[in-house]
Subunit: 393 residues, 2 copies
């Protein structure tokens, strides 16, 4: 009989797991630390997360032991993707009222109250000091006090983003847009209507609701046309895509613009040795099905050009970078409110296994401006070798 | 003490392997049958091949026990690829005289004499009945009688090709172009000069020799210019590329045209669920380095367009195929001289694990015309699911 680890014991207590489940949990070795011990996180005594799905519990599920007891924060569920709109909505939304919300291009954050303060948890289930600092500046605790145990699921969007920096929203700093309000313990979401009421009452920014349709075999043509128009408008503005949700939140499906697919490809091919082949192929497949469903000959020609440029140009740019003696890297500018959070954030990146360089470049309006640089060592070394005459396969 | 299998024993006897090597060979389980028992292969008593490299012995190495004794046929060595011409030739050919031969787009065949007859062995080391039939029609045994134990390494090229069918050579049937003459047992190649003499003497078709350069730091500019011109001319004609060989055959490097890279991509993306992501990425990487080394802005723009079309158009074609109720497949027309070889060839494809349909479509000039169809089940099923509304990831 093995004594369960403190982490497993916490999960067992929080989720009321039978002994056999605890043993499986130990065996699978999928529990990780979710937090760095630090005064900034003073409400939290200990916190662990699931690094993989476990039974009904999503990857990224976190258990916090706070000064007031145990808090369960379920992982944000994976939203499945449509590749063709018409058959997918008929199959999955037939007879349902469905809203189309904008899928914003940032990183997924769950905001919870633990003890006296707010905490921001990223997708994989780590409490992020940078995001937590921002969240405490943007939100008060009113909503959380009225709805204990609930979490706000948000997209963190803007240029000052350590994970997904985006320029298209006109946000220089980082802002949070709520897309779901969920019970942290059960993961049950509020209906779209209630979410909107709550956002109004507590002054929360919601991701834009762009349309509403009723999907039936007789309205399907109009539905597809409307969704296509919404997606095309987003595409023109360089936005990422939509999430379709039936108003009771029983089904959700996402769909992305060509602009987003190409953005992903530009990123992946710029760092082609760091990024998975599957990541690349899946974006190309999305473009192919979108082209099949909507393109006439001219649009397809234009899409081919766009796709080719999204793939080739960033690779050539990276080759030129290495050829001129520099390293291939990604740089973002972040703004911290205190040196304490900055130091903690560095530790956080190390915990996440990120290979980075960080430098303070200035102080303005009480904010510390830093440059975060992630060196893409694999891509740099690969290119450098080839430019010295190394062979491939 | 385990008794070695008949296959291992044959390898042991042919290669004079010590007992420990035979044991390793058994353990690794990399010996496969190289032949189907059949009167057409009457000279061969038994034949086995290496499915993986083993020590110095290449993948595709075959041992034949014939009516006259044992014949060793070494696997054709992997030729490494340059991604940038200038640094690669300086690094690998400095001070050497180098010829540029055309790399033709077909399949690699080693021709050997075993017993009284010629046999054609494909890359992986399988004696192919279709190719053997053609070889016996195209070659007499004069060369092999004068050079016992030698093999002719050829590219089998043309439209009637069961493995790589190509239209660009104006060859309706299948023809063989010699690129190496090698000692079957040691794999030692003859020099370029001797190969040319032998080809003249025995009336063999050689792959075209397109140029000769002397690589030194002071001639490097001219070398790169000349190679680039050769490659561009091949590219204009839709040809595959070149193999650079120093005249003594101590180093060989290959390099492909953009036309070939895009051809590969068209093929891979048409059957995107069958083909490896690595296959796709490697072709894209080749284009990026070629663009970096040679393109001005206009050429790069044109290359992006070409690349985008090579990727997207075939995928959309496959989607349209499935959408119209058909299956995604590859069809080639082959010509057999006898029904016996046809039947044997079917067995051969099964041995190779190919999923195919074959149909006799006519008889003309003593030849049996058949249509060979390889159904791409994975791609077909994937597309079909998505067109019915299935989701991705």
């Amino acid at each position: 009989m093995i004594t369960p680890s403190p982490a497993s014991s916490l999960f067992a207590e929080a989720l009321n797991l039978p002994k056999s489940a605890v043993e499986r949990l130990e065996e699978r070795n999928i529990i990780r630390r979710a937090i760095i011990k630090h005064p900034f996180f003073s409400d939290i005594v200990e916190a662990y997360r699931l690094d993989k799905k476990f039974g009904e519990y999503e990857e990224g599920t976190v258990i916090l032991r706070t000064i007031n007891g145990i808090t369960v924060v379920r992982g944000f569920p994976k939203i499945r993707r449509m590749l063709t709109i018409r058959p997918a909505i008929l199959k999955h939304f037939n007879g349902k009222r469905v809203v189309a919300e904008e899928k914003m291009n940032g990183y997924n954050v769950r905001i919870v109250k633990a003890g006296k303060n707010l905490y921001a948890i990223t997708r994989r289930g780590i409490v992020c000091p940078y995001t937590t600092e921002k969240v405490r500046e943007c939100f008060d605790t009113d909503f959380f006090d009225a709805y204990p145990g609930y979490m706000l699921c948000c997209e963190a969007v803007g240029k000052s983003s350590p994970f997904v920096s985006s320029d298209v929203y006109g946000i220089d700093d980082l802002k949070f847009y709520v897309f779901d309000v969920r019970d942290g313990k059960t993961n049950r979401p509020m209906s779209v209507e209630r979410k909107i009421e709550i956002a109004e009452k507590y002054g929360l920014d919601l991701v834009p609701v762009l349309g509403e349709i009723l999907v039936t075999p007789s309205t399907i043509d109009d539905c597809v046309r409307e969704i296509h128009e919404i997606v095309e408008e987003l595409n023109r503005r360089g936005r990422e895509g939509i999430v379709l949700k039936d108003v009771d939140m029983s089904v959700q499906l996402k769909y992305t613009t060509s602009a987003a697919n190409c953005n992903d490809l530009r990123y992946a091919f710029r760092f082609f040795n760091e990024y998975g082949r599957d990541f690349m192929l899946s974006r190309i497949v999305r473009e192919a099905f979108q082209s099949f469903e909507f393109d006439d000959e001219g649009a397809m020609k234009e899409r081919c050009r766009r796709l080719g440029e999204a793939i080739l140009k960033p690779m050539v740019e990276s080759i030129k970078t290495v050829s001129s003696g520099k390293v291939v890297c990604e740089t973002v500018k972040l703004k911290f409110s205190s040196f304490e959070t900055l130091e903690l954030f560095k530790e956080h990146l190390r915990l996440m296994g990120v290979n980075f360089r960080i430098e303070v470049v200035g102080e303005k309006g009480g904010k510390i401006e830093v440059e975060l640089e992630r060196v893409m060592r694999g891509t740099t070394d690969k290119i450098s070798g080839i430019l010295k005459g190394a062979l491939w396969r």
